[in-house]
Amino acid sequence: MFLSDLIEETYTSLTSNKVRSILTILGIVIGIASVITMISIGQGSAKDIEDNIQSLGSNLLIVSPGSQRTIGTTVRGGFGSASTLVMEDAEVIESQVSNLNAVAPLISSREQVVVKGENTNTSIYGVTQNYEEVRDIEMEIGFFITEIYVEKKSKVAVLGPTTRDTLFGEGIDPTGEKIKIDGQEYTVIGVTKSKGSSGMNNADDLIYIPISVAKQYITGSESLSSIYIEVSSEKFMEKAEEDVNSLLMERHKIKDEDSVDFSITNQSEVMETMTSVSETMTILLGAIAGISLLVGGIGIMNMMLTTITERTREIGLRKSLGATSSEISNQFLLESISLTFIGGIVGVILGLLASFLVYKFGDTTTVVTINSIVLSCFVSAFIGIVFGYYPAKRASKLNPIEALRYE
């Protein structure tokens, strides 16, 4: 039997029952397409997270109040809610730790904001001028909180774009307008550019005010929510983290590493965590899609077994006309491989299309890698062999006498 004969036989038998062949292929198409789409969404969100974290500003250390570990338990202490960090801590860090670009203390709180009857509940960030640099904030309209405003405790506010949209309407310039936060009136001086949501907190839906004002009118205490520290270079990150740690331990009179009342987060650590989360998500999505691929494969096996039962007499005939067992099994194996191969190709095309549509209309970044295409092609061919092997072997083992007599 020549290869061209084998291909011709396969073509004839697949086209002789078009509907069934197409339905079987469809199972594989859906499987492959969903694997590609799901993985592209997973990898897209990983890229999103990476970009977002990078947009927060690199070489960033974040000091938060509250202990890492409470002695005797593994429960993480009230992260961000304790009031162990104060303004002075930030000032001491700025003056005593070397290789820092900027230190930005932050007081955050959620408050009711009212503008001419419109009201919303949003985050209020009390910041210094350094915050703009540390978090790479860019302005859409007006300007950010300056040193003078902080010193003079001016009641001015900078809005995030989402907050502006909620309070004033999209695209409107609100500078000079008054807003009321917790009963006090503030003048809007600027709107920041959109940063996109960063997963944990939305950098677009908040209001910045001078930290001195926040201390006086919003929280009424010295305590800080966090201190953002920008280190001048990647290579000083570790040193800076150690210095900040020992400095704060000294200031807070803590001797034991385990009982510190603050925690320092490294930006790259955050990124690692988030990336690993999105990797897990990619695997999960891929696994779900993989199940549908498996179901498609079982569909192939089912169809091949049905075909063999239907064509028992034909198999007997072919054997009596001189077909060897391997010629019979090759024929059926090629049939199932062709089905999965065609399904794989159509699935890849459909998957690419689907992830493009998700990107275009679904507001989600999708990343299709060559790996996922190669992987799914390989998997579909593999499925063809695995799920086609058993039926093909069964066909080749049929006894020609019994097969010819089969009704």
């Binding site: 006309l321 060897t324 010629e327």
Partner: protein, 234 residues
């Protein structure tokens, strides 16, 4: 051409043993037209399977062209079938969705000794020998009448130019008139083209078209008019 020496075939089903063929011996020479006749259960189908190398005897020897078929593995037997034996079945066994030419060509695709370019001329030759009208050659086999189908099946059996054609009840599914046409086709193949034909049937009338009749009953040969042939040869 064919030599059976004391062939015994025993089927085992669990504890039960059935002896289907009991010590069968005969010889068929090249160019003979032999009918094997017997009632159902006489073992003629088993004998046909052994002659066609689809089955192996439990005891005894089956020699085809002086080669003992017992010693060949299955895949080599398949190639022997493809080169030396042509089958004609009672129920035709054509591929319904394939046309006449494809059906006749089927044995050739399992025969690597024949080049692709040679195939069409062999198919044409076989169809002409089997006497199928040229207008039917491109029809699907499911569109043919019973007699036409059997002639396609005969052409398929001929296409590899086999040493022997084995026909198992070839007229069993046909009415007597088309049956006669098919039997005449066999006769013609034997007389005009010199093919060796073994016809298996349970009908005396069908068997009488052959030159020699081997009669089976309960797994034994009860009569064989081999003398008639030998006389004719002289």
């Amino acid at each position: 051409m064919i030599k059976c020496e004391q062939i015994i075939k025993i089927y085992k089903r669990g504890e039960l043993e059935t002896t289907v063929l009991k010590n069968i011996s005969f010889e068929i020479k090249k160019g003979e037209f032999v009918a094997i006749i017997g009632p159902s259960g006489s073992g003629k189908s088993t004998l046909m399977n052994i002659l066609g190398t689809l089955d192996k005897p439990t005891q005894g020897k089956y020699l085809l062209n002086n080669e003992d078929m017992l010693n060949f593995p299955d895949d080599e037997l398949a190639k022997i079938r493809s080169n030396k034996i042509g089958f004609v079945f009672q129920s035709f066994n054509l591929l319904p969705r394939a046309n006449v030419i494809r059906n006749v060509m089927l044995p050739l695709i399992y025969n690597n000794e024949i080049k692709k370019e040679q195939r069409m001329s062999l198919v044409e030759k076989a169809l002409i020998s089997a006497g199928l009208e040229k207008e039917r050659w491109h029809n699907l086999s499911s569109q043919l009448s019973g007699g036409q189908m059997q002639r396609v099946a005969i052409a398929r059996a001929l296409v590899n130019n086999p040493n022997i054609i084995l026909a198992d009840e070839p007229t069993g599914n046909l009415d007597s008139k088309t049956g006669d046409i098919v039997l005449d086709t066999f006769k013609k193949l034997n007389k005009d083209y010199g093919h060796t034909i073994v016809l298996i049937t349970h009908e005396r009338y069908v068997a009488e078209h052959a030159d020699r009749i081997i009669e089976l009953k309960d797994g034994k040969i009860i009569s064989d008019n081999v003398s008639k042939i030998i006389l004719k040869d002289k």
